[in-house]
Amino acid sequence: MEFTLLWQAGLGVLAAVVVARFQSRRGLVPMDLGLGDRLVGAAAVGVLVGRLAAMIVQGANPILAPADILVVRWGVHTGAASLAALATLAWGLRSNLWHGLDAAAPAALAGLAGWHAGCVFRGACLGTVSGLPWALAQPGSTITRHPVELYAAGLYALTAAGALWVGRRWAPGVLAGLALAVAALARLATQPLRPSIGGGPIGWYLAGTVAGLVVTVVRHRSGGDAATTKQR
């Protein structure tokens, strides 16, 4: 039984929960929001739906082989998992949607940083061939490669720090939209450094970037309108 994927997921959850607690203790988000629990719940739903979608796409039957749902290493559908996680989070925060999503953004980005950094547990950090001084070789190989998952982890960590710094300075929903766009863009930017069969789910990353930017623009405009109305 392989547990390395579990350690990787654990590091992602740990990073998200630590940042969520930091936000709560510093008074950046209301304590009663239950941010850490909501993020963990959304991630769990996302993994389950993504796994079911992957099985269906691959032609495996979840009803005839229910135990196989648990073997996440066989594949999770990125797009379905992301949509399900976002929908679950949005549903949980529906009473105060945009403020809630803004509050969740830094912790979610930190969780992604932890997930990507967790590649070290699985020996799954390396990407395409590189001669750069920090490039690393697989065990038993002399060919050095980009530690692409650590690049992604660094990008997410920087973005999470930026989101914490921004806090509530922007109109409600702008930070959440921008976080979604940057999260998708970080995957898109690092994708060429990952060896893949058929290019990877580039369409989903593009869709995430566009959706995030649309939310950012729409919320920025509506926030501006609200501010204007208040001034009147």
């Binding site: 032609g59 060896p195 069969i197």
Partner: protein
């Protein structure tokens, strides 16, 4: 929608083997070793069976890899502990076009030191084993090992 999709998948059956399909040729351990040692291209050897659920999971990935890299890497499937009819239906269902061999007793994976299905072996030209993946292979591992084979050759 998800429930509907699951129900549709549950109620559907894979296509039967084409009536005019040639049987999968049998291959002995000696013949396999000769194939491995004389191949001028790197080799990806996947051991599978039609009754193996994880094999269904990785079949589309292997087909896509063959479509992308088949001109530079030789893909070989070894079907073990299976029946010809079920195996041919499996290949038709997933559109597997690379060369496949029938090994009813599973002697080839045993000789390679593998147990169970699926298994995937990666060999450099000349037969040097570069990597061995017991169990199902994911896209990242397959892509990285193919890249490693191409970088070495």
């Amino acid at each position: 929608m998800l429930v509907t999709a699951i129900a549709v998948v549950a109620c559907s059956a894979g296509p039967p083997a084409p009536a005019d399909a040639e049987p999968i040729p049998a291959l002995s351990v000696e013949d396999f070793e000769a194939l491995m040692n004389t191949s001028d291209r790197p080799l990806v050897v996947n051991v599978w069976a039609s009754w193996c659920v994880p094999c269904r999971s990785e079949a589309p990935l292997l087909r896509a890899a063959h479509e992308s890299f088949g001109d530079r890497i030789r893909f070989v499937g070894i079907d073990v502990r299976d029946s010809q009819g079920e195996a041919l239906a499996f290949m038709a269902e997933f559109g597997i076009a690379y060369e496949n061999y029938f090994d009813r007793e599973g002697a080839i994976p045993s000789a390679l030191g593998g147990f169970g299905v699926p298994l995937t072996f990666f060999f450099a030209p000349g037969g040097e084993r570069v990597f061995f993946q017991p169990g199902v292979i994911d896209e990242r591992t397959l892509a990285l090992q193919i890249d490693e084979l191409l970088a070495r050759s």
